[in-house]
C-alpha cells in the first residue's frame, strides 16, 4: 500500500512547450527510474497517483519525429518495467501536456479501471509465437504428396512458353490450395498444443505467405517454462519444415483494452 502524492513535477509549465510521453501504467510501488533509456534518450520517470503510476519521459515537444530507435526504446522501457511488476503497455506515441494533465485526464478518472486491469494481469505475461514454413521443404512436401501436382510439374519444367501457360496456372493454383490447407491444419495443431498452457490467445488472421502461425499467448509467469518446453518440442519436431520466432515475456500488448476504447 503506497499512497503517492499527486505529481509535483508539473512545475515545468506549458510555456516551456515540453510534453510528457507515456509508455505504460504500472503499480506506483513497482516503478524504477530508467536513466536515459527512454525515447529521444530521455530518462524514464514515474508520475504516480495513489497506487498507480504512469511511466513517462519529458520530451521537447510533440513535433519531434519518432525514429526506429525510439520505437525500440518504447518496447525496452516496458520490458524493463515488466521485470519489476505488472505493466499496462500503451501504444507508441501517446503524449500528455504535462504531469498534471496525465493525472487529471487519465490516472484519476480511470483509476478504478486501471487498478482492475493491473490486478487482472498480475503475474501474467504475453508470449509471442510465429511459425513459418520453410519454403523449399513445404513445396517439396506438396509435390511429393500430390501426384497431379508432380505430373504438372514434370510437364511444365523448363518451359515458359505460351503452350504450357494453362498448365502452369493450374499447377500454381493447386500448390496455393495445398499450401493454404496445410497452413490451416498445422496452425490448428500448433494452437491445440500451445493453448492448453495459456489463459488467452490472440491469433493473427492476416494471410502472410508461409506464416503458419502468428499468435500471442497470455501465460501465467509460473507456466512460462512449461510453455518454453512445449514450443521447443514442437520446434524440434518441425525443424525440417518450419522455423519459429519466439518473443517474451512481454507486457500484455495484445490483451489490454480500456472500456470504450477501440483496440
Amino acid at each position: 500500500m503506497v499512497a503517492v502524492e499527486s505529481p509535483i513535477t508539473g512545475s515545468a509549465d506549458a510555456s516551456t512547450a515540453t510534453a510528457l510521453y507515456l509508455y505504460g501504467v504500472t503499480w506506483a510501488e513497482a516503478t524504477r527510474p530508467q536513466p536515459g533509456a527512454g525515447v529521444h534518450g530521455e530518462s524514464v520517470d514515474a508520475v504516480a497517483y495513489r497506487e498507480v503510476a504512469g511511466l513517462t519521459s519529458t520530451i521537447e515537444s510533440t513535433k519531434v519525429p519518432a525514429k526506429r530507435r525510439d520505437l525500440l526504446r518504447h518496447a525496452e522501457v516496458l520490458g524493463t518495467a515488466l521485470e519489476h511488476g505488472t505493466v499496462l503497455p500503451l501504444r507508441f506515441g501517446v503524449v500528455f501536456e504535462n504531469a498534471t494533465a496525465l493525472v487529471e485526464d487519465l490516472l484519476l478518472p480511470r483509476y478504478a479501471e486501471l487498478v482492475q486491469l493491473l490486478g487482472r494481469f498480475e503475474g501474467r505475461v504475453e508470449l509471442s509465437v510465429k511459425a513459418f514454413f520453410r519454403e523449399e521443404a513445404i513445396l517439396a512436401e506438396i509435390v511429393q504428396a500430390n501426384p497431379r501436382i508432380a505430373r504438372l510439374r514434370e510437364a511444365t519444367r523448363d518451359t515458359s512458353d505460351g503452350s504450357t501457360y494453362p498448365l502452369r496456372v493450374e499447377l500454381g493454383e493447386r500448390v496455393a490450395g495445398q499450401l493454404q490447407e496445410r497452413t490451416l491444419r498445422d496452425r490448428q495443431a500448433l494452437l491445440d498444443r500451445l493453448s492448453r498452457l495459456a489463459l488467452d490467445v490472440q491469433v493473427d488472421q492476416q494471410p502472410i505467405e508461409h506464416q503458419v502461425l502468428g499468435a500471442s499467448f497470455l501465460v501465467e509467469r509460473e507456466r512460462v517454462a512449461a510453455f518454453d518446453d512445449a514450443l521447443n518440442e514442437l520446434a524440434q519436431q518441425q525443424a525440417e519444415r518450419m522455423h519459429f520466432k519466439y518473443l517474451g515475456p512481454l507486457a500484455p500488448h495484445s490483451f489490454v483494452g480500456l472500456n470504450a476504447e477501440g483496440r
Binding site: L22, V25, T62, P65, A66, R68, L71, L72, P89, R91, F92, G93, V95, F96, L106, L127, S128, R134, E135, A137, A140, E141, Q144, I149, R157, D158, R168, V169, E170, L171, G172, V175, A176, L179, Q180, R185, A189, Q206, P207, I208, E209, Q211, D228, L231, N232, Q236, Q237, Q238, A239, R241, H243, Y246, L247, G248, P249, L250, H253, V256, G257, G262
Partner: protein
C-alpha cells in the same frame, strides 16, 4: 539420439526478451497496446516503409505463376530420400535438426531475391 529430454528441448529455440527487429516492434507497439485517443500522438515518420514487411497472400494468376515457378525450381533429389514429417504424424526424433534450424534462421534473414528488400528491416 532416441529421446529429446526436456533439458535439451528447452535450449532448442531461444526466446528473445524484447523485439530487436523493426518489423516486430512495429507490430507490437504500433498495432497493439492501450490506445488513448483523446491525446496528442507524436509524429511517426518513415514507418510506412517498413510496415509492409511480409508478403500477403493474394489469390491471383500472378501468385499461381510464381508458385509454379518455385515448384519447378525445386531440387527434389535431396528431400525425396529424407521423407518429410508432417505435424499430425507426430514428427520424429531430433537427429540432425540443429543444423536445419541454423540454416533456417539464415534463410529467414536473407530470404530469396525479390523478398530481400521487403525484409531488409527485419535484421
Amino acid at each position: 539420439m532416441a529421446i529429446a529430454t526436456q533439458g535439451t528441448a528447452s535450449n532448442y529455440l531461444q526466446r528473445a526478451p524484447s523485439p530487436s527487429g523493426l518489423a516486430d516492434v512495429v507490430e507490437l507497439i504500433l498495432d497493439k497496446g492501450l490506445v488513448i485517443d483523446a491525446y496528442v500522438r507524436i509524429a511517426v515518420i518513415g514507418i510506412e516503409l517498413i510496415t509492409i514487411d511480409a508478403r500477403i497472400v493474394i489469390a491471383s494468376v500472378d501468385t499461381y505463376l510464381r508458385f509454379a515457378e518455385q515448384v519447378n525450381r525445386l531440387d527434389l533429389t535431396q528431400t525425396e530420400a529424407a521423407g518429410l514429417k508432417e505435424l499430425r504424424d507426430g514428427g520424429g526424433n531430433g537427429d540432425g535438426k540443429a543444423k536445419g534450424m541454423a540454416e533456417g534462421a539464415k534463410d529467414a534473414l536473407s530470404g530469396d531475391g525479390d523478398r530481400k528488400q521487403e525484409r531488409a528491416e527485419r535484421g
